[in-house]
Amino acid sequence: MIQKKICLLGAFSVGKTSLIKRFVESIFSDKYLTTIGVKINKKKLSIADQDINLMIWDLEGEDDYTEINTNYLRGSAGYILVADGTRAKTLDSALSIHKMVQDLLGDIPAVLAINKADIEDQWLISPASINDIDKNLTVIKTSAKSGDNVEELFTTLSQNMVGTK
């Protein structure tokens, strides 16, 4: 079995921990509980007959006072950027983190999750701004609440990491 480290990155309160909890434990809570530091979760996946042990690093979100500790990114095989569709600024944060990681680690696989798809009618991230995102970055609308596309999010990144997509 191969082991791959991935990181979830984005602004605070966009749903990084909720996406992981939905993916790893199939649970969701509406209550916002901020992440402190880092927490590592594990999940086994099978991609094209290949077993993968995903080490999922849930990093504390960025805010005006907290920046990502770039040491945490070392050894990542891929990363998921997360934005909250109802908060336009979180897309800017995700894209700026994307650039920072590219500068640091080069072009490793990445996927952008725009979360809270269950309330897409309240989104402030416009279709035009989603359309403007670099086509090399796969964008997936997810809902940690309903579970929509959460499995697909992690599977897509894993497929990119093992080169089956």
Binding site: S13, Y32, T34, I36, G37, K39, I40, R87
Partner: protein
């Protein structure tokens, strides 16, 4: 300090202290704190651990710690906080510190759980406040947009009222706003001011509402007295729009009042000269002349653009601001596009 005292100190600080050998084995130097036994139930003082037995986060940190020790850097290297889940499902907030003491490579692991509650609460509160701030900013933006839309609606109604009594067409009025906004953009005005002039410029002749029909609609040339009354439209317009405290109307008032001032001081109402004339009014003077020249009027046919620009070039000696006219010429392609796209339909 004796080894016993040091061990007591570590115990008081609730630290697990590991000595790291070069063969990746680690020895527990102290009697480990009780919380450490959630992760390693059988661990005791002098017990040896392999690095592979460490939690994933610590294994990752060991890379940085090795670098720190090898470079013999003074001071300590902290791992940053991480949450570790014990086999019994409980979560613990920890931090590790790498230090080099007389060539001994030490790894100190401490539980920050005692402070975790406070730290977590502070972070939680701070981030909830940030979320509230974001929501409030969004609401302010939404309300500001609403006010702006209302201002625009009022402006459009005022402009429509003025057009009813004037020979100018709706398309001319709209073009004046668009040309002016293009100039303002080129001059680097803030976007809110560009938006203001786009709606304010069309109101430049609104004071004509106060000019009697017999003069305003008189076919042929005005007498000297009639022209004196006609000239009063700039003052009337300026006063109509003044004093609201609304940025858009303030700009409109300035433009209405001063758009007939001339660069050499021979204009009206105040005979202002050069840059004494507000920039917004100097912009509107240029675009108003251009639009009048390139379109047909009851008293003249439309001039070609080259002829219009040649006439304006002459006017830039005394009537129009020559620097602003140069800016106007530099964006003539965009101006022409506005002219072509906005031909006579009603506003």
């Amino acid at each position: 300090m004796s080894a016993t005292t040091l061990e007591k100190l570590y115990s008081e600080l609730d630290f697990a202290v590991l000595s790291v050998c070069k063969n990746e084995l680690m020895t527990c130097l102290t009697e480990p704190p009780s919380w450490f036994k959630h992760f390693y139930p059988s661990i005791n003082k002098n017990h040896q651990l392999n690095q592979e037995e460490l939690p994933g986060f610590l294994q990752h940190f060991m890379f940085d710690a090795e670098n720190h020790w090898q470079r013999k850097q003074p001071g300590q290297l902290k791992s940053g906080l991480w949450v570790e889940e014990a086999p019994d499902g409980t979560e613990w907030l920890m931090e590790a510190t790498a230090v080099l003491v007389e060539d001994d490579r030490l790894l100190l692991i401490n539980l920050t759980d005692k402070d975790h509650g406070t730290h977590q609460k502070k972070q939680q509160l701070m981030r909830e406040n940030l979320l509230t701030k974001e929501k409030l900013e969004l609401e302010v933006h939404r309300r500001t947009q609403q006010i702006r839309e209302r201002e625009e609606e009022i402006a459009i109604r005022l402009i429509s009222a003025a057009v009813q009594r004037d020979e100018e067409t709706g398309a001319h009025i709209r073009r004046i706003g668009l040309y002016s906004a293009e100039m303002a953009k080129e001059l680097g005005w803030p976007m809110s001011h560009v938006d203001d002039i786009k709606l304010a410029a069309p109101m430049h002749d609104i004071g004509k509402i106060g000019i009697p029909d017999k003069i305003l609609q008189k076919p042929g040339r005005l007498t000297e007295d009639e022209f004196a009354i006609m000239k009063d439209h700039s003052r009337i317009g300026g006063e109509m729009l003044a004093g609201s405290g609304i940025s858009l109307l303030n700009t409109a008032s300035i433009i209405a009042n001063y758009h007939h001032e001339k660069w050499d001081g021979s204009g009206y109402p105040d005979g202002l000269k050069g840059k004494e004339i507000p920039e917004a009014a100097r912009i509107v003077a240029i675009v108003d002349v251009y639009d009048a020249l390139v379109h047909e009027r009851v008293y003249k046919k439309a001039f070609s653009e080259s002829k219009a620009l040649a006439i304006m070039d002459e006017m830039a000696q005394d009537h129009l601001d020559p620097d602003l006219f140069a800016v106007f010429l530099s964006i003539i392609d965009r101006i022409r596009e506005i002219k072509d796209r906005n031909q006579d339909e009603e506003i």
